[in-house]
């Protein structure tokens, strides 16, 4: 009798354990919200929170893709410049006037953006898997390539969406809202929901985790390791494309600095969210939470009145470390 009771308790306890690990980033987020409320009374206003959530969309969506890549034991440093490249191509296409009707033009451009994202991701995937080059170097290389091509396309300047009709049509994709929820937030939720479904409920997702956990075991189990890895890069490319779809209507233009350092932010969001860089684990919702955390840290810095503008970067760094510390202590205590 005691035994069964004990076992039950154990099961419950172990559940708690797993939960805590997944919940830890959310606790850190909650603490930040409290901190923010102290920093500025406006912080907890709906408007501000919606703003922050909305603008975390780019990193959050890209980071969902990065979760796949990292869970499979890879890495993608090229996402920031990929945003610049894909968005630039999309704007150039929309400016080209190749299709007269604005809505058809827009629809085609959207489709093309998705296709280009997938193609860029495929390129990354093939370089790392078919040519067997360390993902770090491979994507550092393509990071340079995409960035350079963007600079070349823009001749160093900006590429700006010109057609006013398309602009009007397209604007709600970033600035619009559905039932009071801004479209970008919906985009985050939908992307993350799909990502979580694919990673945790489908066969492919299982394969991703297996490949990241132990490549040999995956290979011996008949999992096409290279294909699985390549597809994670394509998923990353698709996520970048979705981010581009939101990015273009926001400022309507790209330049050589678009997406600079976003790769670092995306990877940071993934790690803060509880996905280990060595692969084998993936937490999509944690990643989204990580992206929020990053954005909120910046927001609190700006809203608070105590901090010298010169020190902001330093304090951001410190907060990130402290946020991780909170998580660690939480998980260890359990």
């Amino acid at each position: 009798m005691t035994d069964i009771a004990a076992t039950n308790e154990k099961v419950r306890k172990s559940w708690k354990d797993i939960d805590l690990r997944a919940v830890a980033p959310f606790v850190a987020l909650a603490l930040l919200l409290v901190l923010g409320a102290f920093a500025n009374p406006n912080f907890l206003s709906i408007d501000n929170l919606l703003n922050v959530a909305t603008r975390s969309a780019f990193i959050a969506i890209i980071a969902v893709g990065a979760t796949f890549v990292i869970a499979a034991g890879g890495l993608d440093l090229s996402v920031g410049s990929m945003v610049a490249f894909v968005a630039s191509l999309a704007i150039l296409f929309m400016n080209s006037g190749a299709i007269a009707d604005s809505s058809i033009m827009l629809a085609t451009a959207l489709g093309l953006t998705i296709a280009m994202g997938a193609a860029c991701g495929l390129a990354n995937g093939l370089i790392t898997t078919a040519w067997r080059i360390e993902p770090f170097i491979a994507t550092l290389g393509t990071m340079g390539i995409y960035r350079g091509l963007t600079t070349w396309l823009s001749q160093g300047g900006a590429i700006t969406l010109r057609e006013p009709e398309i602009q009007t049509l397209y604007r709600p994709a970033y600035f619009g809202s559905v039932l009071g929820v801004p479209v970008p937030i919906i985009a985050i939720l939908v992307t993350a929901a799909i990502g979580a479904f694919v990673l945790h409920r489908t066969r492919y997702g299982r394969h991703v985790l297996a490949v990241g956990s132990n490549e040999d075991v995956a290979r011996y189990s008949g999992i096409p390791v290279e294909r699985v890895r390549t597809i994670t890069y394509i998923i990353q490319g698709l996520c970048v494309a979705v981010a581009c779809l939101l990015y273009i209507p926001r400022l309507g233009s790209t330049s050589a600095t678009t997406g600079l350092m976003w790769e670092l932010q995306a990877i940071t969001a993934v790690v803060i969210g509880g996905t280990a860089l060595r692969g084998g684990v993936g937490r999509i919702w944690g990643t989204v939470c990580g992206a929020f955390i990053l954005e909120i840290v910046g927001n609190i810095m700006l809203l608070s009145n105590f901090i010298s503008e010169y020190l902001i970067v330093a304090i951001q760094g410190a907060i990130i470390i402290i946020a991780m510390l909170v998580q660690r202590s939480l998980v260890r205590k359990s």
């Binding site: 500025n40 406006n42 912080f43 206003s45 408007d47 501000n48 703003n51 603008r55 600079t151 823009s154 001749q155 160093g156 300047g157 900006a158 700006t160 600035f175 926001r250 400022l251 233009s253 330049s255 050589a256 600095t257 678009t258 600079l260 910046g298 927001n299 700006l302 809203l303 503008e309 010169y310 902001i312």
Partner: protein, 293 residues
């Protein structure tokens, strides 16, 4: 025709203004070479001071008679420039001055006036909205940014213009968008935005539009990008003026340097280009629709 090689070292086209610099440098190089068949102009870009110091060495290796340099950050490049100058190369320094800006560093100085860029903006605000509450979006924490800020502060000194806050927007549209959004959250009333650079103004305008705030009277940016000049020309209420800080100055410097070799006019000393205030009246003459910037 005399055989002359001019090396041009400029920052990489990593945002709008520097892109304009690259554009004008390459354009002027082509024009000068057409004009003087014996002239060879080599344009090289570098992303940061350390690699620009390297680029100077590389140019020196190729054998140059003159160097035109727009340093990405002047102080760290002083030694490297001196190195070139000590070999007898004619040195033209453009835009950004090191702390010891004298003849030991350069022969000719073609200056954009960074303090003036800030001062003109400050003056305009003081004159037009004497009691304005202003938020400032700075560039990156490097000296030219500091000079602009100092110029601005000096211009509004003693007036009723009040700076609510200064933050860095990294000369980047996306970052400026975020900073502006947060300013709007933080301050219920903002009269004027000074954002130091046209690129960042793009983000600022979007943030204001999204928030549907009507309290902001206008935004002052700087540099003179074609998009912003167009807005001034079109009479955009939010962008009544722009402060010129022409990337074309690098072209001027190159022309002056070449003239020193071919026209026998002694070009030495300092040429300060003013930070002109672009208004609806004079905007037309600063508008280059073909420039990337």
């Amino acid at each position: 025709d005399k055989k002359v090689t001019i090396g041009v070292s400029i920052p990489a086209a990593d945002h709008g203004w520097t892109a304009g610099v690259v554009y004008h440098a390459e354009r002027t190089a082509k024009l000068l070479m057409e004009e003087h068949p014996g002239l060879n102009v080599i344009v090289k870009t570098s992303p940061d001071p350390a690699s620009q110091a390297n680029a100077l060495q590389d140019l020196a290796i190729q054998g140059i008679d003159a160097l035109v340099i727009l340093p990405s950050d002047p102080d760290p490049l002083v030694n490297a420039i001196k190195e070139v100058k000590d070999k007898g190369t004619f040195v033209t320094l453009v835009d950004r001055a090191p702390s010891n800006n004298d003849n030991s560093v350069r022969d000719l100085y073609v200056a954009g006036n960074n303090p003036a860029l800030g001062a003109v903006a400050g003056q305009y605000i003081k004159d037009n909205t004497p009691d304005a509450e202003v938020v400032v979006i700075r560039g990156l924490p490097i000296p030219i940014d500091q000079q602009r800020q100092d110029g601005f502060d000096k211009a509004i000194e003693g007036s009723n213009v009040k700076v609510l806050e200064k933050q860095f927007g990294n000369w980047n549209r996306d970052d400026a968008f975020k900073v502006m959004q947060d300013y709007l959250t933080k301050y219920p009333k903002i009269d004027v935005v000074w954002c130091q650079d046209d690129d960042m103004a793009v983000g600022v305008l979007q943030a204001i539009e999204q928030a549907k705030r009507t309290d902001i009277q206008y935004v002052i940016a700087g540099a003179g990008s074609k998009d912003m000049i167009k807005k001034v020309m079109d009479g955009d209420k939010l962008i009544p003026v722009d402060v010129l800080y022409p990337p074309a100055m690098v072209g001027t410097a190159m022309e002056l340097t070449a003239a020193g070799f071919y026209d026998q006019v002694p070009v030495r000393g300092e040429y300060i280009l003013d930070a002109t205030l672009i208004t609806k009246d004079n905007a037309e003459s600063f508008y280059f629709p073909d420039s990337p910037f």
